[in-house]
Structure formats: structure tokens, C-alpha cells
């Protein structure tokens, strides 16, 4: 196996660990953290492919940079929703988020 394949395998394993966290955990904060791990895994794959392939110079790096910025925005809004919802329902367990009206 070559270096690129090793990096892609690492990325795949990391992605699946994150996916397991998103699917299996009930605590919504842990779900958000697992989501971040999945995004990081995708970033690793992007950067690895960009460093082993010719293409638009800097394309992979900048794409990963944009993903990092979007992840920051997503965490900000997600955590704000979690904390705001905690004020209403006094819980962070996702299976108890059963009340959609404010």
C-alpha cells in the first residue's frame, strides 16, 4: 500500500468512528463533537489527495480551509441551539427533544 492509501484508510476509519458517535450517542453535545470528527476526517482525505495529485494548485488546501470555517459556523449555531433548548427543556438528551413548539 502506498502513502496515499494509508492516509485515505486513516481518514475512512476516523470518519466511521465519528459516524458511530453521531448515530449512537444521545447527548447532543457529544453528537456535535462526533460531527466535527467526521469533518476533520474528510479534511484529512482532501489534503492527502491534494498533496499526492497534481491539479489546481492550492485547491485542496483552500477547500479544507473553507470547510474549517464552515465547521466553526456550524458549531457556533449548533451549540447556541443546544443551550437555548436547554433553557426550555432542561435536557441535552437528543431523545427527549420531543417538543417542537416554543
Amino acid at each position: 500500500m502506498s502513502a496515499l492509501e494509508w492516509w485515505l484508510v486513516l481518514s475512512a476509519l476516523l470518519f466511521c468512528i465519528g459516524a458511530f458517535g453521531v448515530l449512537a450517542r444521545r447527548n447532543i453535545i457529544v453528537v456535535i463533537m462526533s460531527l466535527e470528527i467526521m469533518l476533520s476526517a474528510v479534511n484529512i482525505a482532501l489534503v492527502a489527495i491534494a498533496s499526492f495529485r497534481t491539479g489546481v494548485p492550492g485547491g485542496g488546501t483552500l477547500f479544507a480551509l473553507f470547510i474549517i470555517a464552515l465547521a466553526a459556523a456550524e458549531v457556533t449555531v449548533g451549540i447556541a441551539i443546544v443551550v437555548g433548548n436547554y433553557r426550555h427543556q432542561r435536557t441535552v438528551q437528543a431523545d427527549r427533544f420531543d417538543e417542537l413548539k416554543g
Binding site: 496515499l4 492509501e5 466511521c16 449512537a24 463533537m33 470528527i37 488546501t61 474549517i68 459556523a73 447556541a80
Partner: protein
Amino acid sequence: MMPGGDFHPVLFVILAAWVLVCALGVVLSKKVMYSAVSMVFCFLGVAFAYALLHAELLAIMQLLVYVGAISIVVIFAIMLTEVVEGGYRQFFTRTALAAAALALLTAGAIVVAVVSDGVAGATEKTLNPGLQELSEILFSRYVLPFEVISLVLLAAMVGAIVLSRKQEERR
């Protein structure tokens, strides 16, 4: 020379073990705070991965944004919300088994696809562009996404402030 140029097997193995163990720590910890600390270490490992891949700008950004900012936000959220105590049954629903099977299957499928497809066939090492070249590309070719990202971040900030205000302050 190995395909991929300066691929350090030892460093890679250490890094992979570090990142995967920390990621498992995030997913499997009973205490949310342990998960958060594990996440910080996992993101440190990811920054190290970028550095190994010669994407130094990304490594620094990873440290600043993930290890610096996102961890603080998450830890504040944990401190502002409840602490759930209990056994594993309380943290994993019965669907966890199905989720584990699904994740393992997906991992296996991706690994098989990567290995059998000969992705590595024509591996060629290209140097990632340096900071100067990157910033030239960012402000010429990718200037529109750059500006849109700043709008997205502004919207996220405003959204977070609106969402987390107290109820009586809203009108």
C-alpha cells in the same frame, strides 16, 4: 524511494494511533467532559497530520480554530448544561449496536474500495503551495468563496447571539 516522497511510516503510525484512540475516547466516554478533552487531543493529532502532509497553513488554522475556539465553545456548553450520570445503558440506546455494525461496514467498504481501486497507481508527489502562493490563489481565483465565507460567519455570529438571548429580551 517510496511513492509519496517523504512519507514517514513511524510518524504516521504514531499519529494514526493517537488520532483514532482519541476519537474513540470522544465517542465512548461516559463523561461529556472527558469526551471534550479527548476531542482536543484528537484535533491536535489532526493538526499534526496536516503538518506531516506539508499543509502548514492548515495545521496552524486547525490549532487556532478547532483546538482554540471550538473546544472552548463546546466546554462552555458542557458547563452550562446538565451533567448526566449513569451506566452505559443511559448513554447508548439499543440502536448503538446497529450503528456500530453500520459504521464497521462503511469503514470496511471504504477501505476495500481504496485498496482495490489502485488509487495509488500513479502516485506522484506534488508540493503543497507555500503561504505566499496560497494567498495569491485565495485572493484571485477563490475570492468569491472567501467573501461568502465571511458572510456565513457573520450570519452564524448573529444567529448565535439571537438564539442564546433570554426569552424576555426578544420581541
